[in-house]
Symmetry: C2
Subunit: 365 residues, 2 copies
Amino acid sequence: MPEREVPSRPIWMKPDEAVVQIIDQRKLPGELAVVDLESVDEVVSAIYELMVRGAPLIGVTGAYGLYIAARNAPEDFPSDDYLAREALRIKAARPTAVNLAWAVDRTLAVILEEKTAGGRVDAARSEAAAIAEEEAENSRNIGRHGLALLREISSKKGGGPVNILTHCNAGRLACIELGTATAPIYAAHQKGIDIHVWVDETRPLHQGSRLTAWELGMENVPHTVIVDNTGGHLMQHGMVDIVIVGSDRSTLTGDVANKIGTYLKALAARDNDVPFYVALPSSTFDRQIRDGVADIPIELRDPDEVRYMPGVEKTDGNLLVPKDSPAANYAFDVTPARLVTGFITERGVCPAEEAAIRRILAEKS
Amino acid sequence: MPEREVPSRPIWMKPDEAVVQIIDQRKLPGELAVVDLESVDEVVSAIYELMVRGAPLIGVTGAYGLYIAARNAPEDFPSDDYLAREALRIKAARPTAVNLAWAVDRTLAVILEEKTAGGRVDAARSEAAAIAEEEAENSRNIGRHGLALLREISSKKGGGPVNILTHCNAGRLACIELGTATAPIYAAHQKGIDIHVWVDETRPLHQGSRLTAWELGMENVPHTVIVDNTGGHLMQHGMVDIVIVGSDRSTLTGDVANKIGTYLKALAARDNDVPFYVALPSSTFDRQIRDGVADIPIELRDPDEVRYMPGVEKTDGNLLVPKDSPAANYAFDVTPARLVTGFITERGVCPAEEAAIRRILAEKS
């Protein structure tokens, strides 16, 4: 556990200075490293290299990226063309999460309304900050709605902890506050509901064992780390009461893109009658794609993330595979709507059915 | 790749000496270390510590363990009581694989027929060697029967490689020759059938990425290592034609205990109409247990196998989890018969139905 004070958010503006700062999440839990983002190149690299990750957080980071672009404009005035080009560059950093494109496009639209250099810089900064505040508020509301589900399971169970399984990190490190999948967990813990979290380690980059376990430990939430292979066995033996995961992009038809391996847990949940919920802000819904399995782009990352353990030097001694063996590194998979019990959004809980999803998205929060 | 010559089997008697030798599989693929087994303590530890692993191989190792017990008898004569106690100790080294108990019990029964010290030692040694030869023959026959399945898929597909997914190592390192799940793969490769193997890395101990990929590479079989989370995504996208795994214990009702995570792949195979086969010698069938999910004992191993990277020193810097986070390490899971397309045994291929399994086990090979 790092000794320095842990920032309350994974991205923020340094007080009294125009500098965007993030936690380099690749180094957690061993080291709490704070990094300044001062150029669009640094923003793109922070997103691609997973210093920041998680759908809501990369959306906010992308929005701040446009602020940095506006501030660094080469001709003193950030022109429409220049900003559009920088926006494209930021959006290309990761293809699967829809929040990145959503937040960048939204911020760009607001900036282009302004006609002065100062106006554009200020508009970008305040829009990015507004998105961050909205995501924080979303997480609080996701927590509130998810809490009701956990409370119901707890009282039905009448004793013993509610066992929640989660995959990857859809925690406060992936969001701005509280997380998406973890928001109901923190809410329940705060209310004194007896809970225990099975944390999938989440190969290859261990966002579960490195980040989710770290977050939960900081809040004293009882948890146990497991390899990703384990969830099916636990569900067969009644050791999981509910699965809650986040999402990088979901369709209005209810298909869910999330970290690779999520689909396998959804299959096991269905096979064992365990409810499988997806917690996400409405900004994670893609309004265009209808068939998630066929059409959501799945990021194929560097095979060396599979071939080496995370955070080690790439030496032969650190290889997890024979030197000449190739590896493939698909970062996400898509869980079809038929396996999803429901969505926990900031506007309430709904089943994974198009009519219900459209209804809840049309409502004001 | 080690430079010394690779032994053709993972266990053998050193020529002209009464020493049992094994490959320490924990050190592969980085190092090819040969270890002498000279006491029952060393045999138990080699099995528990996974220097040797895989159902057929730990059976043979257990049988040689009784030979070592007989040879080391404290009173110059290996009494019935002494041998029975040593047999129990060896069988307790790992609880899930049924071959260990089967091979030890079979060897013990043969030894007890002999009434002289020399007779008992010789009987133990020759029974262990006989079991090894039978397992080698089993693998050859499993390869022959499985080859027909792969040939059929290849001709139906009419172009492009047959994509086989396998989990853990049910290869020649787990057996005596050729393997179980890998025997059809080697047979097809030798016949010039175009194949490609997706190798699940198999957390926490990476038997897939360390051992299966190494074996396949030595034989120039095209393969790609993936994290265990990936199989579902591949199957959704038509990139897997057949799953073949081994088994540590299967019931006559068709339930299959195998390395943790196998059940998740079986669920994905069923969800995507991909045939799911289990390759095993008939010695892996448990004649007593009928409900595999409820009654096959599942080994719970040291949580540090999950908490640290494999094969490294247990220092804080090598932790994969926060220092205070607990982990759980279930080593196997059970795939219910309803998800198994069929068994590939040394006696032929059969569906996962009790009548068919009993029929095939009753046949002479």
